[in-house]
Amino acid sequence: MKRRFRVLSWFSLAATMVFGFLGSLAAEPQDGGSAVIQNQQPAVAQPAISSAALTINIDKTTLSNGGSIKVTGTAPAGKPVYLEVWAKDHSVRSNLFDNKRDKETGVIPYIFYITKDMPAYYKIFVPKEMQTKIDAVKKEGKKWSYSALLKDLGADAAYSVPAKAAIDRYKASLMASVIGSRGDILPGMDEKENRKRSMQLVKSRFRSIDKVVSAAVDVRPDGSFSADIKIREGLAPGKYNIVAVAGSDVRSTPAVFENTISFPTVYLENAGTSMNLIYPFVLSLVVAIFGVLMGAGGGFIMNPLLLTLFPVLPHTIVAGTVTPTVLFSQGSGIYNYSKIKFISWKLGVGIGCAMLLGGFIGPKLTELITLDQFKFAFGWILLVLAGLMFWQTTPGYIEKNKKEQAILKEFKKRAEASAKGK
């Protein structure tokens, strides 16, 4: 069973590498210029198109790692105009653990929602007058609700793309968590429920209000409108769609622009963001050196630093990617010790088995918690670690440690000598 699992995971690793490579090849020609003239093409899957009344134009079709686009157009007079903008080529994962008590029934649902179809970028631009409403919601702090915000802004009708995302939901249980499974998969949801949950997933993915809505559309009384849309740095490359929406059934055909990025800025497929690779490289180098000096693996410092410096990265990706980085330094450490027979295999494997169980469960829990909970818990862990470090600088410890280190050196010398003697 375990063997098959390992083979499977290696196979999928290889597959990812191949596909990733192909993907980058496919992306190559698009960078070559030749402006994409795909504006005004009829959208295929959009319901209720009445583009006669609503037109949209954009002033450029390519951006280089973000920038500003001017959108102009005409809409039926007197209606607010919303612009729905999303990344067409890349989607990301978003997950959510619903453990809030239901107000009516008083039951905690414990349902885990996950989708792979969340657009890597999704934002609704609303008329400028609504800035005050956005500001009011921002004052509420972290407890804001995306669905309430949309309703408040009247942007309900503009919200369409994530609503169609295929969402899986699992009934999480304590038992399932213990054996490290997501739980039983529940039957699919109807359209309305899917839409409602997708809004929660949008919030869970993009987190801050500024990333999902912005007041930018200037609507004049005659129905013409214009907007300066700012696309931030560090987004997915590829094509983006802009659709203007006025009222519940009036949608324009999508205008398409393309965002390009160039090396060393690279798109991280699972994280859903583009990043200049030099930063994590330098950071990881510094942290690794410091980790060696203080005698702790780099993971302790690397994780919180990444979260603090690059808030765009989801914490699951950070934890999941730093872990294998630590793996190899541990492996080489074990190899060095085992060469001079300085490992008690019985003790190591004994405790290792218990840790195997824990390591099986842990990653499952990472996706159940939100970023804020992650930060909170990690904060306390670091405080404990700082306490341990402090304890190691107290005179009592140093005294004891000196003897220990002397014995350690003595034994190590003996071990090395006998390893050489063979």
């Binding site: 690794a288 872990t323 980085t325 190591g348 990472t366 930060k375």
Partner: protein
Amino acid sequence: MKVEFWGQEFQVNMVVGCIGGFLIAIMSSMFGFGGGPFMVPLMTVFLRLPMYLVVGSSLLAIFFNTSISTMRHYQFGNFDLVFFLAMFPAALLGGYIGPQIAKRVSPMVVKRIACVGLSLLALNLLGVY
């Protein structure tokens, strides 16, 4: 459980060791770090084992944890290959440079800096500033 190591025999309380290891493993795999700095005190203080037995064996124990949690994180799609490739060579390089520098600096100074740095980082995560 009795463990023999370089001619000496130690009595190890495996119940404490396993429970402690299990909890540390959950925590460390959940948050994506190795767990060495917690494992070493567990084995020296709670299990009363000498340092020279602990250094290698604790590394072996957390290696089990890290490898399975890597697999699991990969299974859940938490692993980003490009991101990994950016950090991994740097971590290797750091592993080579680190010991060279370690000879020249006092471990006490490093630990004090680490102590302050970790506290700052922790307060940042807790949202104090």
